[in-house]
């Protein structure tokens, strides 16, 4: 239905939709062929000790305790300001809370993490509260009551991410204060209790927002090395450093699949389906979200299983080893999907944020902001969307290729990747169709 839906009807794009689609597929095929010929040894994800740290004053500044505490305090202050509107503000359209949570925070973490790395880890107010409590009690924040089980992996973060995307995309009354408040309260309790039980490492593996910021932040050009020093690095090395762990494939697929579902849910065909359905809209929405994520996961597991069959690799190992290649695809899709939302609703939210109690105040001096396109044209946005989606898939292809060279026997290294190439083409076609045709 979807395939029949959009192709051929895109004359209003600056380039015809079929050309965008063909261009994307050609880009994938060409990069795949070029990689097969030119990139014959695994070369990514080497030891970070090789990367050159920054020197001098900058290094001393970013390595200092004061630097870390500055960002922790910024996180606490911003969270406290957010809670003013959440707890004391009126529950109406002029309250900035929903815009701050879904737009400035959730979408805003994408560019921040892409540029600067896992920023939410540095800002996370819950992590800071736990740290302060541990200091007050003279306990080691990393030591919990019991060790974090290794088998847990990213499963708690995957569950948390699903809980968030369900709230964002499906939950009834999801922009109202009680719904956001209850969700955040439950999240805070689970995070803090988990941190008491398992120590601060709990945040690494269970905090959906830290995991999200960390996944995207691996594409950042800056990295903090194990020794605490900050250095430039190749983004692909950073992404390649994401090692397999239980739940990792599901975590990345939830990220990609939920964005695809968001595209689908705006399509008139889906709106008609939901409104004509005798089942309540949240039930249909939940089912739709699960089905889309399930299909993206099935495609990923199918392709990685086929690729594993070409070598002597276990399918589960292959899926874990290749999960990192999904991240740039998801990031490209997130940017393409949320760019206009971030641009327009972001400006509006910053204006509303100046008056969180909706009392006519102008605390930040931004209350008078009017929303503008900031020079963005429909054609320019379309080009940006196509471009980031293609870049995401090409980076995914490069990452998968490099990992396949390390995993597959040499003679099967290229042919073994054909299922992965088919997967990338499938994701590209679906992504572009949903973006431009839905």
């Amino acid at each position: 239905m979807l395939l029949a839906h959009g192709v051929g009807g895109r004359q209003d794009l600056p380039i015809p939709f079929s050309a965008a689609l063909a261009g994307a597929i050609i880009a994938l095929l060409v990069s795949f062929a070029a990689l097969g010929v030119l990139w014959t040894d695994p070369r990514l994800g080497g030891a970070l000790a090789r990367v050159r740290p920054w020197s001098g004053l900058f290094q001393r500044a970013v390595s200092s305790d004061a630097w870390a505490w500055t960002w922790r305090i910024v996180g606490l202050v911003v969270a406290a300001y957010f809670c003013v509107g959440l707890v004391f503000g009126p529950d109406d359209v002029d309250n900035p809370t929903a815009g701050v949570f879904y737009v400035l925070f959730w979408v805003g973490l994408v560019p921040l993490s892409l540029l600067l790395g896992p920023v939410w880890r540095a800002l996370n107010p819950l992590r800071t509260l736990h740290l302060l409590a541990a200091r007050a009690l003279r306990r080691d924040p990393d030591a919990g009551l019991r060790p974090l089980p290794d088998g847990l992996g990213y499963w708690p973060a995957a569950a948390g991410l699903f809980a968030f995307v369900w709230l964002e995309l499906v939950a009834p009354d999801r922009a109202t204060l009680p719904v956001i408040g209850i969700w955040l309260a439950a999240y805070a309790v689970i995070m803090l209790v988990g941190a008491v039980v398992f120590g601060a490492r709990w945040f690494d593996r269970a905090d959906a927002f830290e995991a999200y910021s960390d996944l995207i932040g691996r594409l950042s050009p800056v990295v903090r090395r194990e020794d605490g020093r900050v250095a430039w690095r190749n983004s692909l090395d950073g992404m390649s450093g994401l090692r397999p762990a239980p739940g990792l494939p599901v975590l990345v697929v939830v990220l990609l699949g939920s964005t695809m579902y968001d595209s689908l849910s705006g399509a008139p065909v889906w709106v008609r389906f939901v409104q004509n359905n005798p089942l309540p809209a949240p039930v249909v929405g939940t089912a739709g979200l699960l089905v889309v994520i399930g299909l993206v996961l099935a495609a990923f597991l199918g392709a990685t299983t086929l690729a594993a069959g070409r070598g002597a690799t276990e399918p589960r190992v292959m899926a874990g080893e290749l999960a990192h290649s999904i991240v740039p695809i998801a990031v490209g899709y997130l940017i393409a999907h949320y760019y206009t939302l971030f641009l327009l609703e972001g400006q509006r939210t910053i204006a509303l944020l100046s008056d969180p109690l909706v009392s006519g105040a102008d605390w930040l001096g931004t209350a008078g902001w009017t929303v503008g396109g900031l020079g963005n044209t429909p054609a320019g946005i379309a080009m940006l969307q196509v471009t980031v989606i293609i870049i995401g898939h090409v980076l995914g292809t490069v990452l998968a290729h490099d990992r396949a060279l390390a995993l597959l026997p040499r003679r099967a290294a290229v042919t073994g990747q054909i299922p992965l190439l088919v997967l990338m083409v499938l994701y590209t076609v679906m992504g572009l169709l949903l973006l431009f045709a839905a």
Binding site: H5, D12, S265, A267, N276, A281, Y338, E345, A438
Partner: protein
């Protein structure tokens, strides 16, 4: 408070907004003109008529093309008291049972805008302004 969720849903269908900013209008509204709300262009005014009965929207929700700068006149007839709202333009009208109510404005911003009811939380159609 029912305003916020309705507003936010449209906001989060940012994809739709993005698609619209591209000038995207689904092939659907072109290929199935009979399922889109009855509309006629008279003297540059886009007339759109929608009826809501037993929580069912007639014609079923689809996308309607409007030229930027064109006047849009939306007439909604509902069998229950409600409020109709055009997102983005933030134009609304309260609906009395059985009495047609009209929203009229000049479509001067491009993009894709959802037109919805607040109490019954139904999408009536999406307005694609280019």
């Amino acid at each position: 408070m029912t305003h916020a969720p309705a507003r936010f849903r449209s906001l989060l269908s940012g994809l739709a907004l993005g698609a619209a900013l591209l000038g995207g209008v689904s092939a659907c509204s072109e290929s199935s003109a009979d399922t889109t709300p009855a509309s006629a262009t008279a003297a540059g005014v886009k007339e759109i008529n929608v009826t809501i009965a037993a929580k069912s929207v007639t014609p079923p929700p689809g996308r309607i093309d409007v030229t930027k700068g064109q006047t849009v006149r939306i007439t909604v007839t509902s069998d229950v008291a409600d409020e109709a709202h055009v997102h983005g333009y933030d134009k609304g009208v309260s609906l009395q049972p059985g009495t047609p109510a009209t929203i009229e404005f000049v479509a001067d911003q491009d993009g894709l805008f959802e037109v919805e009811t607040h109490e019954s939380d139904l999408q009536l159609f999406q307005l694609a302004v280019r």
